[in-house]
Amino acid sequence: MSKNITGNEIIHQYLRHNKKFPHVLCAGCGHGIVLGTLIRSIHSLGIPKDDVVVVAGIGCSGRLAVYVDFNTVHTTHGRALSFATGIKMSNPKLHVIALMGDGDALSIGGNHLIHAARRNIGVTALILNNSIYGMTGGQSSPATPEGSTTMTNPYGQLDHSFDTVELAKGAGANYVARGTVFHVNRLEKVMVEALERPGFSVVEAITPCHTQYGRKNKYKTPVDMYKWLKSTAITVERYNELPEEKREGRMPIGVFVDRQQPGFEERYYAMQDGFLKRSAKGGK
């Protein structure tokens, strides 16, 4: 109990109280839990507020940036990672966090995601996956599970959904993890790691959207959605031990990749230092 109170106190130190509240999120939304986790992770690492840049895209997740007292940039749809790249390269001392939704990161910003991963730019990509376009009214996203009913797939989703973890792995991300808003402590653990790691790290946070997804897909209340998270999520270690036939419908959470390679900015500035040292010596 006392732990929770401390948690709230921490969060209040990082909120913008001069901002016009209330926030835009619905009752039962998991986005606030993710934001709270992010704040606690930054707090536990002792990173000063001035050194944190939260770069957000568009959508419900994009709106989170405005509430936190960091350097915040609310960008265009899908482009958060490109802005984040410019910021990180200009000032590598900053901790740059790109906050994106599933539509943001996987659909319109899919190209930026794979190239940020390939480049291994020192940015933490936090992808809030709620399986739907929430703010625009519940249209299908690339993360919407096959067979779901949405506003743009009223007869059932036919196309396959993206697996963010596999995508990030394949594109070469340095650190890849998944968590859910039901398993908050685990989520916090991977978020802390992601913030500490050099290079490009991806954390996918599964967060339910009851308003736009759940109530159209047999989850009568927000609680049903959290129960669904509880019953489907399984640690990656245990998932790997499961026989093939029992893996169906289960979602592994935990750390999938941890390469610890130096980030692009580190390598770039090392190259530059080399040039500058040589020219200082009078060489070419």
Binding site: R79, S82, F83, T85, S90, Q272
Partner: protein, 381 residues
């Protein structure tokens, strides 16, 4: 009087001169994506920037990302730029609008080629003039400059950076393929011979700072990200504190200010060169490489006894209205030669309001407008 230090002379491409100008102006970030006929700018930047302290060159995955990275760099206190051509320019429009809304200084060089679509990738055109003005969605102010020769490529790039920093706005520099790929002798100005302007940085304590405060110039000071002034940057319509708003009075205040900060400094922004316009009966209004053909045509016409003049536009938008109106007091004919279907002549006709006859010369075949073509039209009177 002290003897002027001799300037370094180089034999350079228009695109090369752009890089020289950018580096003199203090550019330390380039984010781009290759596209003909602008690629030399990117290539020379790739070779130059990593060797300069804190210089950053980034090849991005597309033009959308290029623009995003450039805005991110500018928010972090860098003087940043990108260069592109027609199709890439279209892709940059979304984030260009963001830069207008978030009042982010940057320079975008567009080397125009024939369109629409992939069009004529290696041929000159001036077909992006109205796209430069109205390409991004929403009512917005914008500064669009042009250059007609290689020396101007250098000079106007410095000017573009200065205007971007002075007015916290993206500035578009329109070149055409002829200017960009002409190689000629230029002079590189010595230090102190050109103006370099950098954005105003706030000096008040961070807790007093309001990011989009109303100021006399209409241009609020801009701290780099990470300097202790934590604030919110957004493409949403925002209030003085930078937070999203839908209150009509706050929306109007923002829209008024971002337009006013450009409009009220017309005397600083609207640049032209007036060649024999004082007494002209026929005035050619031209920009880019066409202005060079026009200058020759005007001189020829003068030698034939026709009072011809040339208004060379260096600033395309906001359109140099007062310079045009001064000429309209005596000119009977305006000739507007362009390598497009008549994009700038729309502006000229708007300002002309029926005072003079407006004759247009339009070429869209990927060929330059020749002096003799313009001469013929001038002689028709």
């Amino acid at each position: 009087m002290p003897r002027r230090k001799k300037r370094t002379e180089i034999f350079a491409l228009g695109n090369e001169a752009v890089v020289q100008g950018a580096l003199l102006a203090g550019c330390s970030f380039y984010g781009g994506y290759p596209i003909t006929p602008s690629s030399e700018i990117m290539e020379i930047m790739a070779a130059s920037l990593p060797k300069i302290e804190d210089g950053v060159f980034m090849q991005m995955e597309d033009e959308i990302a290029s623009m995003g990275a450039v805005i991110g760099a500018s928010l972090s206190g860098r003087k940043a730029m990108t260069a592109t051509s027609g199709p890439g320019f279209s892709l940059m429009q979304e984030n260009l609008g963001y830069a207008v809304m978030a009042e982010t200084p940057l320079v975008l060089v567009n080397v125009m080629r024939g369109g629409p679509s992939t069009g004529l990738p290696t041929s000159p055109a001036q077909s992006d003039v109205q796209q430069a003005r109205w390409g991004t969605h929403g009512d917005h102010p914008i500064i669009v400059l042009s250059a007609s020769d290689v020396q101007e490529c250098l000079d106007m790039t410095i000017t573009a950076f200065n205007m971007a920093e002075k007015y916290r706005t993206p500035v578009i520099l329109l070149l055409d393929e002829v200017t960009a790929h002409t190689r000629e002798k230029i002079e590189i100005p010595n230090e102190g011979e050109y103006e370099v302007f950098s954005r105003t940085i706030p000096s008040m304590p961070p807790e007093w700072y309001r990011p989009y405060e109303e100021t006399v110039r209409g241009v609020p000071p801009m701290p780099p990200i990470g300097s202790g002034y934590r604030f919110h940057v957004t493409g949403l319509t925002h209030d003085r504190n930078g937070f999203p708003t839908q209150r009509p009075e706050e929306v109007v205040e923002l829209m008024d200010r971002i337009h006013r900060k450009i409009d009220q400094f017309f005397y600083d922004i609207q640049l032209v060169e007036e060649i024999m316009t004082d007494d002209c009966d026929v005035c050619v209004i031209a920009y880019g490489s066409v202005a060079r053909s026009a200058e020759l045509a005007v001189k020829q016409a003068r030698s034939h006894g026709v009072k011809a003049g040339l208004l060379k536009l260096m600033t395309l938008f906001p359109y140099p209205r007062r310079h045009t109106e001064k000429i309209l007091a005596h000119a009977k004919t305006l000739v507007v030669p362009e390598m497009n279907m008549g994009q700038m002549s729309r502006e000229v006709k708007r300002v002309n309001m029926g005072h003079a006859a407006v004759r247009t010369i339009n070429r869209v075949d990927g060929q330059i407008v020749t002096p003799s073509e313009i001469f013929k039209v001038i002689m028709q009177g």
